[in-house]
């Protein structure tokens, strides 16, 4: 990517430059330009928020599409909770895959980013370019041979296998992010620790890791969101009903006996899936935006 500094969320979300000279317009002109603007932006805000609000509200509403017509309450969530293996199994599977992916991504990209930022070794550029090349290869293209390979090594139908695959797809973004995080820390900092007798690992652990914490948070958050939301890897790699992740289980709710689709439970499932993502987004908005900025090429 470019060497230009990464704009933080504060730059983008809060202190955007006021480019239009509002004060220069007459009051009449401000009304003429202002009213359509307010109408347009209000309509847009409604379009963007309505689907989310409607789903959240109707998830505690009557259960549509089923014979069991009760009123407001948590009936949809009860139906979701009792679906097949039970929601706790699917939530547990999703949490396991997400946390293992976060852990693997953080470990691999911390060590890798440190290696790329601070050491020179033969094959360094080739390895880094190979990591970036993952971006060029379509997800679906790799999943079919991965299905075969995981079968060979006894990781077929396994959540660990899914986490390993998801970690690999996180590497281009996380390696790039950790490399520039380490490179933005002055070398003097860890060299001083090594002069004091620390090993490279000691300097990494005591000095550098605390310094690159914002990068680690961004990488961890993106790995979590990617793993929590991933659909295609578990769809292809998991066949056992008890090992499905939550998105897969919710999608399977639609394939019901006698063609009856439990829309209510699907709504509840969408809420359970979306809630952690939206909360994480609102809490970590700053990191979220910065991650987009520096990893924008990832998509």
């Amino acid at each position: 990517m470019t060497a230009q500094t990464v704009p933080t969320a504060t730059d983008v979300l809060r202190v955007a430059e006021p480019r239009r000279r509002a004060g220069r317009r007459s009051p009449a002109a401000r009304i003429v330009f202002g009213v359509p603007y307010w109408v347009l932006t209000t309509a847009l805000a409604i379009i963007f928020l309505y689907p989310l609000i409607w789903t959240a509200v109707s998830s505690v509403g009557p259960r549509p599409g089923t014979s069991q017509v009760d009123g407001w309450g948590f009936g949809n969530y009860v139906a979701l909770a009792n679906y097949q293996a039970g929601i706790w199994v699917y939530l547990g599977n999703s949490a396991f895959v997400a946390l293992l992916t976060v852990l693997l991504t953080l470990v691999v990209s911390t060590f890798g980013g440190y290696a790329f930022a601070r050491f020179s070794f033969p094959g360094k550029n080739l390895l880094f370019l190979t990591v970036l090349a993952i971006l060029m290869v379509p997800y679906a293209t790799l999943l079919i041979p991965l299905y075969v390979i995981l079968n060979m090594v006894g990781l077929s139908n396994s959540l660990v296998g899914v986490a390993i695959v998801l970690t690999m797809f996180q590497l281009p973004f996380s390696m790039f992010m950790m490399r520039i995080s380490f490179e933005s820390i002055p070398r003097e900092l860890d060299e001083a620790a090594m002069v004091d007798g620390a090993t490279t690992f000691g300097a990494l652990r005591r000095v550098l890791i605390p310094a690159v914490k914002p990068g680690l948070i961004t990488v961890g958050m993106f790995a979590f969101l990617a793993a929590w939301n991933d659909f295609m890897a578990p769809l292809i790699l998991i066949t056992d009903t008890n090992r499905m992740t939550l998105p897969l289980a919710v999608a399977n709710l639609r394939v019901q006996v006698q063609g009856v689709i439990d829309y209510g439970a699907t709504e509840a499932g969408v809420v359970v899936l979306a809630l952690p993502c939206i909360l994480l987004f609102l809490i970590l908005q700053r990191h979220y935006v910065r991650g987009f900025m520096s990893g924008a090429f990832k998509g």
């Binding site: 060590f111 290696a115 070794f121 690999m168 979306a274």
Partner: protein, 298 residues
Amino acid sequence: MSTLTPPRRSKRARRDALQGWLYASPTAIFVGFVFLLPLLLVLQMSASDWPLLAGNRGWNFPDNYVDATQHRLFWDSIWFTLKYTVVTTILLIGLGLGLALLVQESTRWKSFLRTAFLVPSALGLASASLLFYVLYSPYAGPFADLMQAWGFTFLGTPEGALWSTVFLIVWRYAGFYMLLMLVGLQSIPDEVYEAARIDGASTWQTFRTITVPLLRPTFALTIVLCVTGSLLAFEQFYILTKGGPDNSTMTIVQLIYNVAFQGQNDLGIAAALSVIVLLALVVINVFQLRAFRRTDEN
């Protein structure tokens, strides 16, 4: 550093290299076993008889490639994927820029709008697709009564299925592209606008002669992202339409999935399709990057 004598330096360099490799080894292992190995395997599979359950039954090149291109949905799925890609790219780039221009300044209302436009991007694509699956439903959605009264469905016709999916994607991704556009807009120096204002340029003239040309690198990035993402569309169609009605929304990745795991169960042909897609994407990306570099130089 320059004062170090050569022997010490080379010793240090060797230690450096060793440690570097040590720290890079987890990366190398992942890249080797989970990326390069499957990449080689997909090539082998594409040239082998490889039923889903029976496994490898030996080379059969070029049978899989012939079968892949002669699949009755091969050209239809390519045509549909291209159509979908053009539509989503135009809409997302245009809307992304439009939204960014609407919320550029920092007032409280505009900060709220930015967050509102961005929240859908926090959802997973599968979750968003499931959400719209209920929303579009003729039984449970908010438009269910209207649909009954007027006798239409969102996903029942080829055109309806395409545009309903496009709407979902625009809803999910517009905020993301707005964000990229905002960053691009921020990189344009204020002095340029100041100069235009002194010269008496109108808002439209400023937009056309300053904003659009100076946003070229942002356009290049967003178009590459959007094209690549749309060419590989899968989840939204898998969840909303399953490629229907009448295979009218069959994307190329959905076709690969179907050939491999639904009905045909032929991993060899699916691998051949994958290799074709992989090569096409590499060519398209190289072509796009080269085109943008050329316009950059002008």
